[in-house]
Amino acid sequence: MLNIVIGGSAGSFPIVTNILAKLDKSFSYPMFLCLHRLKSVRTGFVEALRLKSSVPVFEPHDREPVINGHVYLAPANYHMYLTKGNTISLSTEEVVNHSRPSIDITFGSAAKSFGSKCVGILLSGANKDGAIGLKAMKDSGATIIVQSPQEAQVKTMPMAALKITEPDFVFTSSQIISYLQKLKE
């Protein structure tokens, strides 16, 4: 089973909303979102993502078993680790790259737990979180995609990843969407 893991920060919210809106209802892979949010926007985020999504979106509980076709959003102020047993574990350990949730943490755990059975996508963002994790995913055989810096609202995050690893694809958001749509075939 393939797992889709997406990280993003400033400028990624409209893209994620768009991805979720355009997915087919029968999208059958589990998807994990690790998105930085403003400290003031702790609540209402998952509701906002749900509004237009064609697939169910949740903030998982610790040890929650993963269901195919569901989307899991890392809760505010928790790191989200993905595990081999297909459960999610949460932790309030120190911030990483000034962030909790940290994308490096979620990506790093995906690299360890899923190996090649995984697609990692890094979107627009204003810091370097996610680059190291994305590289780890690549090194363990995952397919990795970076949003094209030209298109990204804030390019720091995609650029940081491109500096240390060579993604399988550098895609615009519409290419990312059609890639995900084709996955189910």
Binding site: E59, D62, E94
Partner: protein, 280 residues
Amino acid sequence: MFDENDIKLLIKALNDSGGYDFSNYSLKSFMRRVEKVLYDNKIDIYTLINAVKIDNVFLEQVVRDVTVNTTEIFRDPSVWQALKYMVLPRLHARKEINIWHAGCSVGMEVYSMEVLLCEAGLLENSKLYATDINTDVLLSAEKGVYSCRNSEEYMTNFRKALCVNPFNREEQINIPPQKYFDILPAKDEFRVKPFLLKKADFKKHNLVSEGNPFGIKYDIILCRNVLIYFNQNLQNKLFAQFWDYLSDDGILVLGIHESILGPLTAKYEKKGLIYQKKLI
């Protein structure tokens, strides 16, 4: 680097030399904590294992360092709203209200509770008990002095927890934080007002091995963001113990992203964000 066998040796050493049993901590997160200890001390795992065997002071330090102590004033305001509107009203009839904060860290959760009780007019009748395995955090808890670094978040939490009525968003509630806290950015101090100090009984206690720390029944037990570091067996054991320690209509409050899974689900009724003890 180190592997699971090395971790087992370390866990055995911590148990043999210090009586701390980490064998039922969730292995992954425990390994991450140990990694951090090794990194901070610039030593390898074998040096660490040997050091905890011979140096008790160092062992205690390691125990403190492997715990995760993140906390906030009024962390997750919706939980406090639930307590305010769903739980506290029915405790008014009580002569005495007993509350246990298990894994209280530096005490912010305890002082948040005191504020909530004070606003409800219940503080005088309440007894607060708070425990943690980490003696450093307990010392800060007793002082009630924190850094200002996150004070804006604390204030946002404070307002949401106390000044918003989720059942009637129109309602205007105005409670100035200065009633309870002195915020001194110049000194980088976020201070709990003296009248709230000394109210709670802070005590060192290990949830893994020590049973009921005060030997009484509690109306509310809060154990938030502690069990996420334990494995399922240990979680189940604690859910069973908490059930025993709760009064008949007692309430268990877990972290907002934690839930009771497994055999003990039958013994609690989930009511929104809180668990009610079920008599069966």
